[in-house]
Symmetry: C2
Subunit: 440 residues, 2 copies
């Protein structure tokens, strides 16, 4: 993409309203714009990040056997009256009356609707297990939205829902998601720690939060350092092997790890001193097993091999891709701006023409731009008539993992400069080597 | 995808509430489910179709130079008060009060919001032309929603917005979208006809609807048959050449073509008899140039080369992917079910194991399933323990373009049967040839 034809509205000043670094940087780098309190537009570069996060989330959901569908944003209040949550949910639910004065709502989550879909079609254990997910916008009317897309009112959520005949089978479905989440966060460049969690308004008796460490995190967390060294399950994990998954989950849940709500000071004290970690964290995923909490009142029944009907056992599993974009920045930035992990950067490469109009730099930039494009590498080509300093600042702020600096001085010696955003390391290479290295 | 592990809830009976064939077939084939009046969930196979439509729409928008972003679904009423449309829009707008009693709404379209984004960042003609689009869920509270996703309340729309310094430049932006739309519909397997249209509540003085012919269409349309034979512009069209685009648009708008609202009976009568076409059509796209209708009241100003500030000239351009899924079925089906064009089929191939448990058919099916998967071909493998008749009916109903029928009788001669859904044509081929033909 040529920057002269793109829409990347960089802000020079730091917006006053932004209290945390990810919010400041997302506004300054032209990734998001606030349209109302807690409601954001995703500007083009921000949307590219969000889509890359979604793609990874989706691949790992599919790998685990979950099936994607898409439920609508607007729901009927009657569904929520069936489960008993319509009154219970409180003011965070955005309640709506349509033109016929029917009670509707903007979905804050989808347990009720997916249970309705399940009961409409599935009657037999032969159609189980089933895990259905979607990636859809949700709305929670927070009383004081803040921290940008970290805690917005309209936000994107991947929510999956598992259906099984009994608790044992449901535990296997839960473990599949547990492993899928470990893999998802690793692929996003994050180190996540599963922590036993409170189930809150979703209900149920088994739940884990996935937390990443970041000094600006909202939660106080405590863990045994050994959990940080556990190997994340590989892409060849057999999700159909209950024993294998159970042993992975046990390995990950044996070392002490808890948020302050579930903290057990005595257990923490028993950890050897050098392994004690007390830090700040950000919740990036939450999984629940809640049995028949929704299926029983909503009569989502399946018959077993014995012919007896019983309410289906369910779990739900959430990741917020919009929140993740901010969490990634909290975990990876410096004074100059964002440092995107390779997997989710809006573009892999920033190509900086340091003297637009010079036939040598123009030609070298065109060569690199076309060669990388032909190899499927995303490039943001800064072809604007701007000072080099402004181009350096923009590339650092927006945070592409690689920069290629093309100026007359280097070209006189047949070289361009390759800069790694994360380390600041620079090397002089030929145009051919730059293309080869960046498309490897 | 193995059907035994998929979620494709086929209905045996034809749902009574469905008045048109696309609605009936989408319900029967397990593509959608109604969750409230005019509000649908997209079941897994339906979502695959929708995503393939979106991908083509997106590619052609990008090719024309439009840039994707994503605006939120919920908007502030204040934005619409600035343009004067908040009161004017009527009951189709879903109005909402949040917990602080602020007036919000679920966006039925985004002219106001995109104008707000533009004016926040762009000041100079140097940043023009600019065309920003998104693909987002919209809500229009139709008094009597019907016809499934053809006329639903919550629906997906690709809406693009162009910004130019003056009317001539805006005309070029309009022409880019005109050509992008011709290409989009062709790639979807549709023959579209641009027709001069009324501008309605969007406003402006230049507008075209894109209509496809279908006997079940909602509109009466009239045209000169010669418009059906015009060549659709190729992928190598130079979108930066105003004269070339203008001549394409002129060629497409010279033959008579009009909906009943804009029909000129005298002009139609002047067409030679054998070229007169009077038929039913479905609107699948609508483009508008409306100048400064929003930029003037909302003060979206740009300075020209002369330093003088003036309101920016705008256009908007809509395609409804969710509606298109239904329109495609209206245009392509038979008694047995849907006949998807190759480009948007939920799967390219239905692989039918006609005797599950027979080691020969099982092995041949596995070979074909893996070989096609490795070549990137989407396959729905019917590995259920069902009668052949039920498998034939499901494959015909869901409408994959190709079927591979694998039974013991054919295999005894080393052959499987390849069936083209559209024509019913069947040929006996070896397993190797089937794989080669389907991955070509």
């Amino acid at each position: 993409m040529r920057l002269s034809r793109y829409f990347l509205p960089i802000l020079r000043e730091t917006p006053k309203e932004a209290e945390i670094v990810s919010h400041r940087l997302m506004l300054r780098a032209g990734l998001i714009r606030q349209e109302a309190a807690g409601i954001y537009a995703w500007l083009p570069a921000g949307l590219r990040v969000l889509n890359k996060i979604n793609a990874i989330v989706r691949e790992e959901q599919n790998r685990s056997g979950a099936i994607e569908l898409l439920m609508p944003t607007i729901q009927s209040a009657d569904l929520w009256r069936e489960s008993g949550r319509y009154e219970a949910y409180g003011k965070e639910m955005l309640r709506i009356k349509d033109r016929h004065e029917r009670d509707m709502l903007f979905g804050p989550t989808n347990e009720e609707m997916i249970t309705e879909i399940f009961r409409a079609y599935v009657r037999s254990y032969k159609d189980l297990p089933l895990n259905l997910y979607h990636i859809q916008w949700k709305f929670r009317d927070e009383v004081r939205p803040r921290f940008g897309v970290m805690r917005s009112r309209e936000f994107l959520m991947k929510d999956a829902y598992s259906f099984d005949l009994d608790k044992d089978a449901a535990r296997h479905s839960y473990n599949k998601m547990f492993v899928a989440y470990l893999r998802t966060f690793q692929r996003l460049g994050l180190t996540s720690i599963p922590m036993r969690a409170d189930t809150g308004p979703i209900g149920g008796d088994l739940s884990h939060e996935f937390i990443i460490l970041a000094s600006t995190g909202e939660s106080e967390v405590y863990c045994d350092r050994s959990v940080l060294d556990l190997p994340v399950p590989g892409a060849d994990t057999n999700f159909d092997d209950p024993a294998a998954l159970q042993s992975i989950v046990e390995a990950w849940t044996t070392p002490y790890a808890a948020t302050s709500e579930m903290h057990d000071a005595a257990a923490f004290e028993a950890i050897p001193g050098e392994r004690k970690v007390s830090a700040r964290g950000i919740e990036v995923g939450h999984i629940f097993y809640f049995g028949t909490k929704y299926s029983a009142p909503m009569k989502a029944m399946v018959s077993g091999p014995d012919g007896v009907e019983r309410p289906v056992h369910m779990g739900s599993y959430g990741i917020g891709p919009s929140r993740l974009a901010a969490a990634l920045i909290e975990a990876s930035h410096d004074e100059a701006g964002i440092i995107w992990p390779d997997a989710v950067a809006p573009f892999r490469v920033a190509l900086l023409n340091l003297k637009v109009g010079d036939s040598g730099t123009d030609a070298a930039c065109e060569t690199i731009y076309r060669a990388l494009g032909a190899r499927g590498v995303d490039v943001l080509y800064d072809d604007r008539e701007e000072r080099p300093g402004a181009k350096f600042a923009t590339a650092d702020l927006v945070g592409m993992p690689w920069q290629v600096l093309v100026g007359p001085k280097g070209l006189a010696e047949g070289k361009v400069e390759l800069k790694r955003r994360a380390t600041g390391e620079r090397t002089l290479v030929t145009v051919e080597d730059a293309v080869a290295l960046l498309s490897a």
